[in-house]
């Protein structure tokens, strides 16, 4: 008999989502749902320091230990330091681990350098108030000397790079020194392709619209993340860069904290670990033949996640997203750009979205990210008229409800989905920690496929992925 579903992360109050009280039922409460843990699927899953019996203290301890190796001697007591953060970190494991990393950095920098002012500068994606909500929720304004959210439309500064002028956010760089604080969750692999993962925020959450548009429109699907490297390598950024602190993630939780003055050293670690820890789950999900997808997490549509894999990764799981020979994932903004007026790709070799997805039941997900493509390509049922109305009035999603339909409640939506798709396999993206919530039939399928998926990744895919990124691993 299979175990009960893992408790999903609760609905959360935000200007980008419906009132949590309107989320009447979660997928995990439906009959027939169960869970499968990552340890069951892959017995070699890494041990994690969080979640663990030690609790949040493990994060503080690891951050302090790793920061001991960082040289902070360049920071003088009369100087200021900007601790640069991004919204993504706050969406992992409820946000508390990332908040604790940030608090610990503040304490360590103050203690070791006596710096006059240590500020938090937290960048965002496309929801300009998002980190302001996190700053408030985790009381970071009270902790830091100053704490501010930054948006890509805020005042910018030109940054001269080896490919020309790009633009950063003035507030990111308005201190004598910067410390880059991020996480290694693979997440937007469709954009960064696990190339320079650790560098990405320099081209994104610390960057102005000019730069972000360069990334997503000017460079191309496999060259895009060079935007971030160009900015990071600029003399201006290098003159302020102290080092970086990372939550090194696996689909099961925080594996370690990495801290170093050399970002590329961290980059090599998280690139390799990302391929190791996430590669098997990605590949396994690509072996699902058919399913109904449930969206049920306080994040925009593409970012809701299951076992460390975000929904839009699953939309592209019919190809190997880590394989750099794949020019274009089935979903990325470049792909979306290359769909013609007839709703089909302009070129025949552009892969369609994952045909295993038979229907999407959008029980709970946020606005604030252009998501119409998903509803255009996949039959989508949105639960509740309030949620539909929220999307209808979101300037980034004016067309989402043009293609999606509305169901009154989750039970009716699922009855319709079971009947019309003919499958009883259900994969839920609800942020369950340590595993994924699925229907019993999908749990059986995943358990059956996992050993072969694991062996194939180890023997065939990993060597290829590493070679493509110029990473040499010595046993």
């Amino acid at each position: 008999m299979r175990p009960s579903p893992i408790q999903p992360l609760p609905a959360r109050s935000s200007r980008y989502g419906i009132d949590p009280q309107l989320v009447k039922k979660r997928f995990a409460e439906l009959p027939g749902m169960t869970s499968v843990t990552l340890r069951e699927l892959f017995p070699d899953s890494p041990n994690v320091i969080y979640p663990s019996a030690e609790g949040i203290a493990a994060i503080r301890r690891a951050t302090e230990e790793k920061m001991e190796q960082m040289d902070l001697s360049m920071i003088q007591p009369y100087q200021s330091v900007n601790v640069l953060a991004s919204h993504h970190g706050f969406t992992l494991l409820g946000g508390e681990p990332y908040a604790e990393v940030l608090r610990t950095i503040y304490d360590v920098v103050k203690r070791r350098t006596g710096a006059k002012e240590v500020r938090l500068r937290a960048g965002v994606g496309l929801r300009f108030r998002e980190t302001e909500e996190y700053i408030k929720r985790f009381e970071l304004k009270q902790y830091f000397d100053r704490a501010l959210g930054m948006a890509p439309i805020d005042e910018g500064i030109p940054i001269e790079t080896e490919i020309g002028t790009l633009y950063g956010l003035k507030r990111a760089y308005d201190a004598d020194w910067i410390i880059h604080v991020h996480n290694s969750d693979v997440r937007e692999v469709h954009f960064h392709r696990q190339v320079d993962r650790a560098v990405k925020p320099f081209g994104m959450s610390y960057a102005r619209i000019e730069t972000r548009s360069t990334y997503h429109q000017n460079l191309g699907p496999r060259a895009a993340n060079f935007t971030a490297r160009a900015i990071f390598e600029s003399p201006f950024v290098q003159s302020k860069f102290v080092g970086a602190v990372f939550m090194n993630m696996s689909p099961s939780g925080v594996v370690s904290i990495e801290a170093d003055n050399d970002l590329y050293k961290i980059n090599d670690t998280v690139t390799l670990d990302g391929l190791r820890y996430y590669g098997k789950v990605f590949h396994l999900l690509g072996r699902i033949d058919e399913c109904i997808v449930g969206l049920d997490f306080p994040c925009p549509v593409p970012y809701v996640f299951s076992a460390g894999v975000i929904y839009c990764n699953f939309v592209g799981a019919n190809v190997d997203l880590f394989d750099l020979d794949v020019k274009l994932p089935p979903y990325t903004w470049y792909t979306e750009a290359f769909y013609g007026k007839d709703g089909r790709p302009l070129l025949p070799d552009i892969s369609p979205v994952n045909p295993a997805i038979r229907m999407v039941i959008h029980n709970y997900a946020w606005i604030g990210y252009p998501s119409a493509f998903f509803a255009q390509q996949l039959p989508t049922l949105v639960v509740g008229k309030e949620q539909a109305e929220l999307f209808e009035h979101d300037p980034q999603n004016m067309e989402y409800m043009k293609y999606a339909m509305v169901a009154d409640n989750l039970e009716d939506a699922m009855r319709f989905a079971y009947r019309t798709t003919g499958t009883d396999k259900v994969l839920v993206f609800d942020g369950a920690v340590g595993g994924m919530n699925v229907s019993a039939s999908l749990a059986d399928h995943l358990m059956k496929e996992a050993p072969a998926a694991s062996a194939y990744v180890e023997s065939v895919l990993m060597p290829k992925w590493l070679k493509q990124r110029g990473i040499h691993v010595f046993a």
């Binding site: 320079d196 619209i209 000019e210 000017n218 460079l219 750009a337 302009l346 209808e392 009035h393 300037p395």
Partner: protein, 221 residues
């Protein structure tokens, strides 16, 4: 084409006249007007007919002095590409390394041909393009550069307004990256030349109908 169904509203009592809303509005719909009877104080004023409901002002106001109001009657803005000379439209897109059908704004679904048409009809700055097509009025972030590329291809080189944050300028494209830079980083997984080749295939794609009309052998679906 862009459906507009919300409009920004200023809460006068909370507005401090800081003008951040005016600095970030992609359609220049907000101006700062003197408060009658006061010496130096100004208040933000929204021109409803220019507001696209993008929420940029509302999300950046430091004083929560702006809210979005659902409109009783929605309206649509957009430019029909068919109303301009097609050869010129296609040439602008081609010179900007874009296929006319290529989507250049992921929020509004605006295609390159609509932006090119707006330019041919007189939109010579990113702001005017936004007013005409709705481009850059969703997330307001990701679609600036295609607008700049199309403007440059049409011979326009607009300068940003001093003290405003709407946009600063054009940035490099993959076609500008020097060979020595490509060579320096290709081993790290950046596929510059392959991406150029792929994007050129997109630019040169012709539909079956177009190919037969031109008598050419374009790549077809």
């Amino acid at each position: 084409m862009r459906l507009i169904n919300t409009v920004a509203r200023i809460i006068d009592d909370k507005c401090t006249g800081c003008k951040i809303c005016a600095q970030v509005c992609p359609t220049l719909a907000i101006t700062m007007e003197p408060i009658p009877g006061s010496k130096n104080r100004k208040l933000a004023i929204v021109a409803d007919e220019q507001c696209t409901g993008c929420t940029a002002c509302e999300q950046r106001c430091p004083f929560d002095a702006i809210y979005m109001e659902n409109m009783e009657e929605s309206r649509v803005i957009g430019v029909n590409p068919a109303q301009v000379e097609q050869e010129r439209l296609q040439q602008i897109c081609y010179d900007a390394h874009l296929h006319p059908e290529q989507v250049v704004c992921y929020c509004t679904g605006t295609r390159a041909e609509e932006v090119a048409a707006a330019i041919l009809l007189g939109a010579d700055t990113p702001d005017k393009i936004s007013m005409a097509t709705g481009l850059r009025t969703g997330c307001t972030v990701e679609c600036l550069q295609p607008a700049m590329r199309l403007l440059h291809a049409a011979g326009h080189h607009p300068e940003p307004q001093k003290g405003m944050y709407q946009w600063y300028g054009a940035t490099p494209t993959i076609w500008d990256i020097p060979d020595e830079i490509k060579e320096k980083y290709v081993q790290r997984g950046f596929y510059f030349d392959d991406d150029i080749e792929f994007m050129e295939r997109i630019r040169n794609y012709q539909s079956n109908a177009e190919a037969s009309a031109n008598g050419s052998k374009g790549e077809v679906k």
